[in-house]
């Protein structure tokens, strides 16, 4: 659990926007609204994600004692993936195709193969356990700062998107540009003496 031990690796954000006085209720409600729900083995979903308690990542009760530690809120983002191993699928399909040919005196047609592939896939899916990854999240309610303890940018983006929509705030990354207001930022441009003459060419459209 990275929050508790080991080297520190996290993305930092500031909460921008109105934060209600009852921060605990506000945060708990937001977590519950985007709580983790597991993958249905009978369905077609390959991935599921959502918030869980930090200490027990199967739980989504978010009791105050499990989330709040002084002025900090600690919880986690759980990601499950259920992928049928393609090698097993191919192997079983190949065995079935051979048996089919022996029985019927001909190789299975494309539609027959597709149908059987689906049957095998569903059978394998019901026997495959999902892989689970859990990423810690901490919120300093006093300083209005948030840390997502993940190195993969896709995870950081997914967590911040979920929090922004459920908390109805903006999460501003703690980068140098965030210490300037929009007008001041618009007036700034890369220092030509440092970056070189190539900057006299037009900049590509800004990617947020």
């Amino acid at each position: 659990m990275p929050i508790r031990k080991g080297a520190l690796s996290f993305a930092r954000f500031r909460l921008s926007g109105d934060v209600p006085k009852d921060t605990r209720r506000w945060l708990t409600k937001a977590l519950a609204s985007r709580a983790f729900e597991g993958i249905d083995p009978k369905g077609d979903e390959e991935r599921a994600s959502g918030f869980v308690e930090l200490e027990q990542s199967e739980r989504t009760d978010f009791a105050p004692g499990s989330v709040f530690e002084g002025l900090s809120a600690l919880f986690a983002w759980r990601v499950e993936r259920l992928r049928v191993p393609s090698q097993a699928l191919r192997g079983q399909l190949s065995e079935w195709a051979q048996a089919f040919e022996q029985k019927n005196g001909r190789a299975p047609g494309r539609r027959e193969k597709t149908e059987q592939k689906d049957v095998i896939r569903r059978a394998l899916r019901s026997k495959t356990a999902p892989t689970v990854k859990v990423f810690d999240v901490s919120v300093d309610l006093g300083a209005r700062e948030l840390q997502v303890w993940a190195t993969a940018r896709s995870v950081v983006d997914e967590v911040t998107e979920a929090l922004e929509s459920s908390l109805e705030v903006r999460l501003v990354p703690c980068v140098p540009a965030s210490q300037l207001d929009a007008d001041a930022l618009d007036r700034l441009a890369p220092t030509t003496e440092l970056f070189g003459d190539e900057l006299s060419r037009p900049a590509p459209a800004e990617v947020a």
Partner: protein, 218 residues
């Protein structure tokens, strides 16, 4: 040979790589141009250029014995140690990575910086109130990577967590204080008048590297 060439052309057509006239179906992209476009896009994405200017200024300022910034009226000093990555917006060389305890202060790094390869990521140690924090920062996101705090003193697990979270908050404040100092200089007239010329002069001091200490200590 002729039939082999013909077979190759036929194979390309069957693969969809060429049309009936033999011309390529997809636009051939010059790899060098594609690389330049990628480097340029990376520079402007999320205003990464400002992060690179910041980290480069911090490297320059860390040569000075004076504190780089303050937090709660206490000085912060910064030292670069270990791995350093420089990136450019364009040019034949778009990235350089240097390893070595004193690598960040080597003449070679200043020479590269003078050519437009600015600091994109670096390992720093920040010292404040006799506490030392280590962190790797990158110019695009300023995420904390592989951060180390002073040793925890509490024994109780719950108190240890609170102490660790306190260090997390302090590390964040230290990084913000250093960035804030940079922003104050960057948005002042001093930036172009004084600091950029000083930066360029420091970059051009790229004589043979001094082995033991950061060079150019003022």
């Amino acid at each position: 040979m002729g039939s082999r060439r013909q077979a190759s052309a036929e194979t390309k057509f069957l693969r969809g790589e060429t049309g009936v006239d033999g011309a390529a179906t997809k636009e051939q992209v010059d790899p060098a141009q594609a690389e330049q476009a990628k480097a340029s896009e990376a520079l402007y994405r999320g205003r990464t250029w400002l992060g690179r200017e910041c980290l480069t200024w911090v490297l320059f300022a860390s040569n000075d014995t004076r504190p780089i910034a303050t937090l709660d009226d206490e000085p912060i000093s910064v030292l670069f140690n270990g791995r350093l990555t420089l990136r450019a917006a364009s040019g034949d060389v778009t990235e350089v990575t240097a390893k070595g305890v004193n690598a960040p202060y080597a003449g070679l790094i200043r020479q590269a910086a003078d050519l437009g390869l600015l600091v994109h990521s670096a390992r720093l140690s920040l010292t404040w109130q006799e506490r030392v924090y280590e962190v790797t920062l990158d110019a695009e996101h300023f995420d904390v990577r592989a951060g180390k705090t002073p040793e925890l003193l509490k024994e109780d697990e719950s108190e240890k967590l609170a102490e660790r979270l306190d260090h997390v908050a302090t590390l964040g404040r230290l990084i913000d204080a250093v960035v804030s100092r940079f922003i104050a200089l960057r948005t002042s007239p001093r930036w172009k008048k004084t600091i950029v010329p000083e930066l360029k002069a420091w970059m051009r001091e790229h004589g043979p590297a001094s082995a033991a200490t950061p060079t150019g200590r003022r």
